[in-house]
Amino acid sequence: MSNLAMKSEEEMLEQFIERIEAGDKIEADDWMPEEYRIALIKLISMHGISEIMGALPEKEWVPKAPTLHRKLAIMAKVQDEMGHGQLLLRVAEDLLKPYGKTRSDIMQDLFNGDLKFHNVFHMDTKSWGDAGLIGWLVDGAAIITQTNMLGSSYGPYARALQRICAEEVFHAQHGEAIIMALAEGTEEQRTMVQEAINHWWESLLMFFGPASKETTGSSKQDITIKYKIRKKTNEQLRQDFFTKYIPRILSLGLKLPDPTMHYDEEKQMWIYQQPDWSEFKKIIKNQGPRSQARLNLRRTSYENNAWVRDALAATTN
């Protein structure tokens, strides 16, 4: 009997691969190999929780946004990010169902460090320039990585990304507007932008992940490419980011923090100094500048609101 089961499992896998090769979309209730499900859960719950943790550094600047107009714009943006988190966690929850897990397990995994969030959101913010830069370049980088997965073989994720990417475009425009106002502004404002670029440069390089697993010891890009969850490699995405943003940074009269950076015509690629990948490993293990503070903020508010969740559970039962 076990032989028969094994055989059919193999056949199912074959069929599955044929389906995704043919560009078919996999849906939540379809059969899928365990490896695929696990890769999706990791990817999507990390993406979802990063949207939510990502609201925290920007939230610091919501009340401080300089004008009424900027206050409204950044409020709208942070609200969108929470909405992205909500959308993605629902996709992850469906995938978790066979394991009997729910959203509270996702939260617990975050608190105990099993679920990572994106390296950029472990960083500290120092000025309004950082708030603008997050919108402009962090969301800009997110657009590049997310566009890479728009054709994802997993239907629910691909559809969520379609909506998310449309909103991310507005976020990047919001960020760019802040940065342009600063870059065309007073001496003090220009300094603010340059310092923000210097401050975020390494984090932005790290955002796309290591080029290969040799860099950090592990990389999930191979599995996700194999299953057609994504198309391009980490390095290709980083290069796309450079091609899109280096000219824009320079045209605002800003300096690149890496003086060796240049485009090699022969190799057709940007040559740049590698960020400190050992630092990256530390950051995603929740040892970044603001990792513990932000986790603590979420954990405290989660515990602090436990009575509300209890009260809601009591009225719906």
Partner: protein
């Protein structure tokens, strides 16, 4: 007196400006308190919903400051960010902190207080907007119509929370009752026009204090009935009347945060 006539009498204009400052500062501060909750609400869906409300509310503040700018009171951004605490006309209720702690550190905010404050405040605002739709100052009447459209959802949102929590666990009931007591302590100046009472009430801009209070109480009757409670009495405006510029320390520190960046250079383009 209508806006059609370009010249407003000095007394009318003074009453109008004072009223607009009360409305603008109220929304500016309560929206700030709402935005401090960002990322910390009881669940993610609520975070999305309540941050949308805070955003609408900041939008309303901006509309009222813009009406002031149109009257020549100064630039809307200057009015929102540069006026000192003693020049603010918001009610004390709108400036109160959300609970223990600073929003940048690890605050312990009280959701029961958030629900009760927002519900009572929003109902008060609704009563005012309903009255302002008949205001003899047309730009204000038009703004009230716009504000009212969004207010319907805000009110429904907070009313739902209010009824749900008060019909739930013993702990929820206890916390909600404590919050009601806390909110009502500060409720005295919500419907007060402060020293401008006579001028505002005679201006034809908005109904009188007593009429608004009655409106609030009759609107509150049903939700309180749903939770088997009596509508609390609105206290008299206390010595600390926000409408006259009397405020707590909590306002001063809120304003420091709200204007930190703008004050770096109010003349710069941001």
């Amino acid at each position: 007196m209508s806006s059609g006539e370009n010249v407003l009498s000095p007394e009318y204009k003074k009453a109008l400006e004072n009223l607009l400052f009360q409305l603008a500062d109220d929304d500016f501060l309560i929206s700030f308190r709402g935005s401090e909750w960002l990322g910390l609400a009881p669940h993610i869906e609520e975070d999305v919903a309540s941050s949308s409300i805070s955003q609408d509310t900041m939008g309303h503040a901006a509309m009222f400051y813009t009406l002031l700018e149109d009257l020549g009171a100064g630039k809307a951004d200057d009015l929102a960010h540069l006026r000192e605490a003693q020049d603010r006309r918001n009610s004390v209720l709108a400036e109160r902190v959300n609970g223990e702690g600073y929003y940048m550190e690890t605050p312990k905010y009280d959701w029961a207080y958030a629900v009760v404050r927002n519900f009572f405040y929003t109902q008060a605002k609704k009563v005012k907007m309903d009255s302002l739709r008949q205001s003899n100052y047309k730009p204000l009447a038009e703004t009230a119509v716009k504000v009212n459209m969004e207010l319907y959802y805000h009110l429904l949102h907070w009313k739902t929370w209010f009824i749900q929590l008060l019909n739930s666990t013993d702990e929820a009931k206890r916390r909600m009752n404590e919050a009601i007591e806390l909110v009502m302590k500060d409720f005295g100046d919500v419907f007060s026009y402060g020293d401008e009472k006579t001028a505002i009430e005679q201006s034809g801009l908005i109904a009188g204090e007593d009429q608004l209070k009655e409106g609030w109480k009759s609107n509150m009757a049903l939700p309180f009935e749903c939770v088997a409670m009596k509508v609390p009495d609105i206290p008299e405006a206390s010595a600390k009347n926000g409408r006259n510029g009397d405020h707590t320390e909590e306002l001063a520190s809120a304003l420091t945060t709200l204007s930190e960046v703008y004050r770096l250079d109010p003349a710069a383009a941001w």
